[in-house]
Symmetry: C2
Subunit: 318 residues, 2 copies
């Protein structure tokens, strides 16, 4: 179970470690949407994404004797976050990453002192590789989303936003495995019970939307999308149990709509957003949910993107 007290405990652990990221507003965004939009800018978070919160909370909540070697698997941001969190606890760390992960993300893991074990994104099973590594080194695996302490940490994103803005009509949350969504729905249920919390995922990776429709966890083929951090085959069992109960629903955005959101952030906000971090903003800009006249929270979840890839998306598109 995930309770608001878990999010409060995570906030305590994160004090002095995670940035309390700013809430951005934009008159042009409000004019375009007809809403009052509050952007929670986790691209300014340490390690460049919200993933720090769940990773650090999980590592910090381990008993010292459990914290011998931390292992994880991640398309990138969670890997960086776990490597940073392990380093903060002077604990060795191994990250299982797809061989085609952006080089900036691999370099960052190494920069935090983490080891990398590569696997093939198409044929490999990253969780199985990670469990094998954990067995070999006698370590503990910190999964990217389907873990109560990870969800509790991510929930501090929603809690901080709602503390800063007061009650919101709607909250749009970038959704991959569903950890951030589970944390944010739980935070909103406590702090602003009338907020409709929506998950937003890439159209090609609509595993959570399909799972909502089926009323159970559904797995899809490996998605192909520019939103590499959201290219999940299925939501988590634990995250789905929370989200299917508390979320208003799931909407999807195309890769082109994600690029338009990245361009808007560049042109008008002067901030760098990675594809996976831009989908909730894309949903507002593409009017996937009617927010006219409302007070709306939007998560911007990360800013880790290669220069060349950013330049190409900005100029040539998806």
């Amino acid at each position: 179970m995930l309770d608001y007290t878990d999010i409060e405990a995570a906030a305590e652990r994160l004090l002095g470690v995670a940035h309390r990221t700013p809430v951005l507003t934009s008159q042009s965004l409000d004019a375009i949407t007809g809403a009052s939009v509050y952007l929670k800018a986790e691209n300014f978070q340490k390690t460049g994404s919200f993933k720090l919160r769940g990773a650090y909370n999980t590592v910090a909540s381990l008993a010292p004797e459990e914290r011998t070697h931390i292992v994880t698997y991640s398309s990138g941001n969670h890997g960086q976050a776990v490597a940073f969190s392990a380093a903060q606890h002077n604990t060795p760390c191994t990250v299982v990453m797809p061989s085609d992960a952006p080089s900036v993300k691999k370099a960052a893991v190494r920069g935090y002192g983490g080891f990398i074990v590569e696997y093939d994104r198409i044929t490999g099973d990253r969780a199985a590789v990670a469990e094998q590594v954990a067995d070999d080194v006698g370590g503990v695996t910190v999964p990217p989303f389907d873990h109560w302490q990870v969800m509790a940490g991510q929930g501090t994103v929603g809690a901080e936003l709602l503390e800063d803005t007061g009650p919101l009509d709607a909250l749009l949350v970038c959704t991959g495995g569903g950890g951030l969504l589970a944390g944010c729905t739980t935070a909103a249920a406590h702090l602003s019970a009338d907020t409709a919390v929506w998950g937003v995922e890439p159209e090609a990776g609509d595993d959570t939307q399909q799972s909502f429709a089926a009323g159970k966890v559904v797995a899809i083929d490996q998605p192909v999308t520019i939103a590499d951090g959201q290219a999940m085959r299925a939501p988590g069992k634990l995250t789905f149990s929370v989200n299917s109960r508390l979320a208003a629903g799931i909407v999807t955005v195309t890769d082109n709509e994600i690029v338009e959101a990245m361009r808007f952030a560049f042109d008008r906000l002067r901030v760098v957003v990675e594809p996976s971090g831009a989908c909730a903003l894309a949903a507002v800009l593409a009017r996937k949910i009617d927010v006219a006249g409302q007070r709306v929270g939007v998560t911007i979840t990360g800013g880790n993107v290669d220069r060349a890839r950013f330049a190409s998306l900005l100029v040539d598109g998806a």
Copy 2:
């Protein structure tokens, strides 16, 4: 004369109009420089640059009967800022711009309802064109830097930064015509008298550095630099009178060093900085001034840059 009370009066006029922009910090920047660096992020200012402050302050301080038609000349950011400020006062505005100014800057002026008169950057005299336009329409010219109210407005950048950080050892200020530097030296003299305030200009456009060396205003050939907002032939008479008295000195950075600063801002800060806005950061990164162990303020003055140009500078360089 420019007095701190002029800056205080400007701050009053700007209340509720200009953003109080955030002060950014970065552990990696501090690690690289060995200093505690505080970045005043005017790329998040309304209209995308600090120029709003001086422009709005000047337009707002005109008597209503003087405010019939506002005219200015600008490589871009000042033009946008004046157009915005005139629109806020329901006053028509004409901006004299070089024909090769970035299209995003022309579009922004038109977006604020401003008229544009183009001139040739190499052969034309923009101030003379503007005076002619002002004569024709019976308007008032708001120059980009050599005006006491413009300098007073820009001084609120330094005042806000020093209010937020407390006393600093050094303050590095992006310098074109010298309006921001004059405002910041005056603010620092009042709020933090021991701060060494340095101007930073592009190496190719070292008119202020040459003027400091000569002890009088020196004009150079039209500079060719990626920092289009700092491609001045000479500092202002009024700005030079303030800066030669109060500034610690002038340092220069190359176009390549400016690009490296833009890349650092992209990679590590996840913010978009235009070339002219990055030169003070470039000076710190390239160790043009020894700031080790110091508390250092740095102005980031703007974020108005075409997508294609930004992409090209990020990937291919200057």
